[in-house]
Amino acid sequence: MLSGDSGYGPAPELLSKYEHLVVATADEGFQRYSSTAALWEVSLPAIHCTSCLILLERMSEWLDGVTDVRVSFSAKRATVYFNPELVSIPVVATWLDFVGYPPSLIPAKRQHSSEVMKLGIAGFAMGNAMMSAFPEYFGLDAQGHSELLILFRYSTAFFATVSLIVAGRFYLESAWKAIRGRTWSLDIPIAIGMTALWGWSSVLLVQGTSGGYFDSLSGLIFFLLLGKFLQRRTYAAFSFERTVNDFLPLSVFCVNRGQFVRLGDLQEGDTIELAKGGIVPAEVHALSDVEIDYSFITGESQPVSVKAGDTLLVGGKILSEGLRATVAKKAQSTSVEQLWKDEVPDTGWVSPKMTAWFTLTVIALAIVGGLVWWDIDPTRAIEISVSVLIIACPCALSLAAPFAYGTAAGVLSKYGVFLKSGRGVEELAKIKHIAWDKTGTLTRQNIAGDLELHRREWSGELASIVARSAHPIAAGIRRALDAEILPEAITQWREVNGEGIHARDIQGRTWFVGSGTGCGRPAGPTYAVCDGTLVALYRPSAAYRTELTLVFRELEDLGITHHLISGDAPRELPQEWHASFADRIHFERSPGQKAQLITPLENCLFIGDGLNDIDAMKSAAIGLAVVEGKLGYFPKSDGILFADQLHQFTHVLRYSKRMVATVKAAYILSLVYNLTGVVLALIGHLSPVIAAVLMPLSSISVVLFVVLFAWGFAPKD
């Protein structure tokens, strides 16, 4: 099915990542036109340049079955037209991933063209409203041409009303929703302004006193929408780098139904098939013995052997070939995804109380201003109130923090820290204590060990044997071996759970790599035996990350106190760490005790490695999970931290502190904008149209300010 006979192509394991897309639906962008024509619209966040577009659009030349590809550069999406008889979505997805554009499987909202359309209509209405308002400005006099004057006035009113209904409706609806939900939204002042302007103008129009402010109203709507449009374009350019990838399965092969089934549709008693490397999607009973790697959730890198009939927990990674299992408990529709995703709803950066306070102040100011002007010049009172309502919109205020922290979270990924939300940056800046977990955090997760190689000349064969296994010990041996893999050398290969690997090489020698019980030797180390001759001996060990010594010192200089909180038996720490931890070392703590130790610590960061630490992560102000090599998901953590970049952790904190300062500066900047604007409006120097132009400009400048600083403080590479 895959094109190219050269063997060049994605690894078969990659395919398993996308296998569930066999049951892709319209929600996932799949549309079938006929048995030979279908399309798949997919989000490819990696698209960034001209070459991307050209490579992807030539996909039909390098993948059989694809008829055409259209890339939407702005949306970073591609529409793949293909023949479902020749190629399937999983294969397309695998190839896209292979050439460097991993599809984002999180359903993204499609961009709507309606925004452009509304903007166009608002522009059209404004142009025509202004045009028909001109004659009166230029002194068309009511005596001689009264019917003309009325025609022009009413046509201005008509265009402004169309604009209000078609384009300005968004503000009115949003404000109405907020009022009905008894919350204060920043759209309320704008909506009040628009309605007041329209109502007052209508009164004037019907009375025949003047044409009202319909031209201003249409201009106001147009510039508000234009500002929103430009803002969104600017923000899209700064769109945050992806922080966390979602690798979770969405559907699984169900044997008794003979098809892929969505996780939410799994029923108790269904038999499912899980491929090697797959993740257990629901609580299941294994139908055969199986090796499970729970490192995603427990951080424990030693695999666990599970006997047939035993229960497998959600999140375990299957290390054995093709496991069948019966579903013990119906999966919560998205329980697996929920483990990683936040259960706390995002309350927004500006608190509801602040929004309410702000909205009320603005409305009060507008009323007071209007009343004062009613005394001075009644014809301008409404106009001035509206200007106040429009210019005071604290959009800049509400944008500064999300943009600063969102960009910062992206920058932090260069330091190996991937935060779930930008809010984590704010928390990191406040850290006073760090509670370190021992296993996997202060020690290495990847099994390191001593390899005694007795037969160096056979190390190539040994490397080839262990390289085929996903077992952590095999991986440890592979790393310890300094040998090239000989792809042709191994003719037979079989992994026995809990025992080891049996293999035969091309010269007919039998190999065994595994535990002592598998080859009749004393238990303990892992043996590699070839035809009864001991080739190598491997003793796994957990070693402390001594490179952290310097990090501890640097962090102390930032005023941070270190704590060690571990569930393990006491073990001697490296000598140079004693000064950093002093008496704050706690071994043999249960998960609950860990949490108790952390709770009294204010602004505490917990750095641990998995499920054992759920309570600790929850009780700390912020919890980070340490990852070595593989990316999984970590319940209750606020982010993940790449182990090999732990030595840069001081920079992470320094950067976070700088970003918090930047946001404070941006707040002051935007307050200055708003105060100046309100004062100018109150003394009558700002018309509603100018206010509508200035408002988005101030927002954009504040966003530029924080984003440029976020980049400026970023590491140079």
């Binding site: 055409d68 037209y81 025509n128």
Partner: protein, 53 residues
């Protein structure tokens, strides 16, 4: 004088026609990707494109 009413009517008709053309182009997705076409022209050999959805 009446000629002004007539002129106004015709100018609005023309404007409305352009508005209709704009609404059609926005609805058919011509504004969805404004950067892509500029890059697409750099492609060397062109082949027949399937009609866009």
């Amino acid at each position: 004088m009446n000629i002004i009413f007539l002129l106004l009517f015709f100018s609005l008709l023309i404007a409305a026609a352009f508005l209709a053309a704009f609404v059609w182009s926005a609805k058919s997705g011509q504004f969805e990707d404004v950067e892509g076409p500029a890059m697409r022209m750099l492609r060397e050999e062109r082949k027949k494109q399937t009609t866009n959805s």
